[in-house]
Symmetry: C4
Subunit: 264 residues, 4 copies
């Protein structure tokens, strides 16, 4: 694959990933959305099928990493580092474009939500109170959850551990894919399984931190949240921003280590 | 494929698509339905598996476009326009037949619902109040949501943008399909992925307008709503009808442009 | 396939289908079940994955019809009637065994449910009141919905129409399967698609009558309901029993006619 | 496969299975989790996709049994017993590691949940009262349901019957897999179908006992529950512990018998 195909594929793919992933958070959070309060299962299927759609579209161009932790894991496994920077750049740019597209698709809903007097919480109706209190204490804005992740209980060691564990599962599934599909690389069925693995991680390990498991997925939209001129948007919670970057990268590296020890 | 196979395949396929897609809206909206208020996730899986069933049945005859925006995107990509009219005619006729079949399957429920004194809303229990107020202001009838889409916040630019974005994702996934499945055309696995892409668009981008992303899906049933002699059915909201036609067609054309620039 | 393989395969397969399909109705209906009131989406996925499991297990023996309407449609399409009786006999016997196994798996729950003073309804929490009133008027017992289907609005023409429409969709998908999978017969992917078609029919067309779409699925368990010595079980609603037999058989025949006209 | 590949594969695979399966129970049960009270459908998809992820990752190493009852069924079918002990040892060790990882990912949530004055119940919000009363009577702790299964109605014969029936369905699906996939062994599609069979068993047969259907899945985490120094964790309900071991093993043996009689 050429560098330009990698960059374009990762940019388009990650933009679609964040458009659809951030979109399902917007759909369930914002006022005047038909999907409001549709529940955690909808969030997890929404993110999972976002992965499916994004991988399916971008795989022919770039192999569809769409996640710096996946790129890191593959680089460690293969010992090839030449394209890592190109992948990461496309992923971060794509994530920012995707977050802006969420705003474009839900602009009216954002305005209605942020200018209403109703007390608003983050995504995940079940935890509204916990999150709202948390948000006020920490300065996280009422729609930040549409862009980036945040913990229910703020504890750096614990939050890092959860993100690392989730990412190890994801990257291990990606790395063993070649073993399952007879070395054919990422096919349609592999994209589907990867998507359902992401649903699984969301259902099972998403409770404490919202499962970033992808540095670009969290950092790109957080930058866009900081830049967008939304009324009453509140803070971007930069104090937490390093955890969904460092945790997933560590998880990707650990997964590659497990792969090289047990599967190679 | 012969013109008659195309026409028959698209008619049968789009009829099944709308029977099942409109059906899930009827199932969740109408009184005396076992599925009433089953939630937004049921709506999105219902439409997604409607696509799967319809594509699976009609693909051997016509390739299963079932959507004028898909037909447009493929025509632009391939530069072949000869069959576009045949596809579009079958799609519109099929959509009308499908909407009539929804009425046939739920006739008793329609009557019970429309003659009851209970205050009724559109599909999507979460937004009932918003929608009911909206409906009264605009003259959209209480069961129009079973036939056609409508916005939560009425704003032509915003609503067009949302429909365009959703359709770009759909048509881009359809156009890249040949790249994923080794040029074998639309196989069973491709039908499944396309269905889950539609679930994804519904979960993530359906909140503002109800994701028509298909001119025939919206226009055909709206015509049937206008024609059916339902009691107290209210208006067919013709003022909005152009948006789910123009938006998806624009989205299909933009997707073809992106494809030709980045993937061809 | 030998007659004994057909009979054994259909018996085992239909027993598993009804064990799992009736099981999800028991799980959501009965007191002291962890799944109580899990909602209509759980019912439809439960029946769909019941089809997947049953087809997957029995397909190597009998081709996994598991439904007299499917057997009828295939017989009309192929013009071969020799095995129809064997298929039907295995299907009815299997359905009765499956219904008895539901009772075996949920015996304690049946007793707790039927001897409790709480007012009980059928499956589908959303329609409890409608159904309970209906049940008392017609003599349908409080757990009959775990065994057999029943209409929300009792009207023979309407109920037949709904069952016919649902079965046409199912059997058409089964008949076109050979066209999709290169004539390989029912493979694993075909089983999965058929299962999701059943989920689709449940979500979209199950609201009025509970989608029997299979004579054996309804008649076999109704016989078992009549025979089982459950306390306070109420009537078996034999007045309705012909509709989920005649409707699906008519649907299967119509689907074969559509197939022979448009797809053959 | 070498003994060390079997042991390592089963250990890694079962650890991932229990991490994700126990994880979804933690996510829905514990305070300060975004997924709290997401419902039974989320539990069943969570466990099913846990199977998918674990099988997909470990299949290249060990064939991914991940369940002593599956290993037993395959041993009876093939008449080969040499590796059974290695499989079982890896499965039990992996299950214990997985349960410990659930605690690591949700440590803050466990502490918050167990030290809160709120009256807590087990997983499955629908049955909270039944379960809480049951738990107090029997000494099962408030978070034991995150580790191991427990019955809604305590009756050894009934509970054994339910576990046996569920496991027969699972192991029969695993044993017939070779017949479906042209003897290719467990491929990606087979892993997906097996996962959905587990969803099916959960939806349809999980109501009475919580569907252990796997001795390692229940015993390993129960040991970890007994060992972990959690505050106010209550008892580990050892009186019930033999049922989810004996029932699934009996089910696996019966499934192998059915296979040898009807399918071989």
């Amino acid at each position: 694959m050429s560098s330009s195909d990698i960059f374009i594929g990762e940019t388009i793919g990650t933009a679609i990933l964040i458009l659809l992933g951030g979109g399902v958070c917007a759909a369930l959070t914002l006022k005047a959305s038909k999907a409001r309060n549709a529940g955690w299962l909808a969030i997890t299927f929404g993110w999972g099928f976002a992965v499916l759609t994004a991988v399916y579209i971008s795989a022919p161009l770039s192999g569809a990493h769409l996640n710096p932790a996946v790129t890191l894991g593959i680089a460690i496994k293969d010992g090839e580092w030449a394209d890592v920077g190109t992948y990461w750049a496309g992923q971060l740019l794509g994530a920012m474009i995707g977050a802006a597209l969420v705003w474009a698709a839900y602009a009216g809903q954002f305005t209605a939500h942020l200018t209403d007097r109703e007390i608003v919480g983050g995504p995940g109706a079940q935890a509204t109170k916990t999150k709202a209190v948390e948000a006020q204490e920490k300065g996280a804005g009422p729609v930040l959850g549409i862009f980036s992740t945040g913990p229910e209980i703020r504890n750096a060691v614990q939050n890092l551990a959860t993100e690392i564990i989730g990412t190890v599962v994801l990257v291990l599934a990606v790395l063993t894919q070649g073993l399952n599909d007879s070395g054919k690389g990422l096919g349609t069925l592999g994209a589907l399984v990867t998507a359902l693995v992401v649903v699984s991680i969301g259902l099972s390990l998403g409770g404490p931190t919202g499962y970033a498991i992808n540095p670009a997925r969290d950092l790109g939209p957080r930058i866009v949240h900081a830049l967008l001129p939304l009324p009453n948007k509140g803070g971007s919670d930069w104090g937490y921003a390093w955890i969904p970057v460092v945790g997933p990268l560590a998880g990707g590296a650990i997964a590659a280590g497990i792969y090289n020890l047990a599967f190679a």
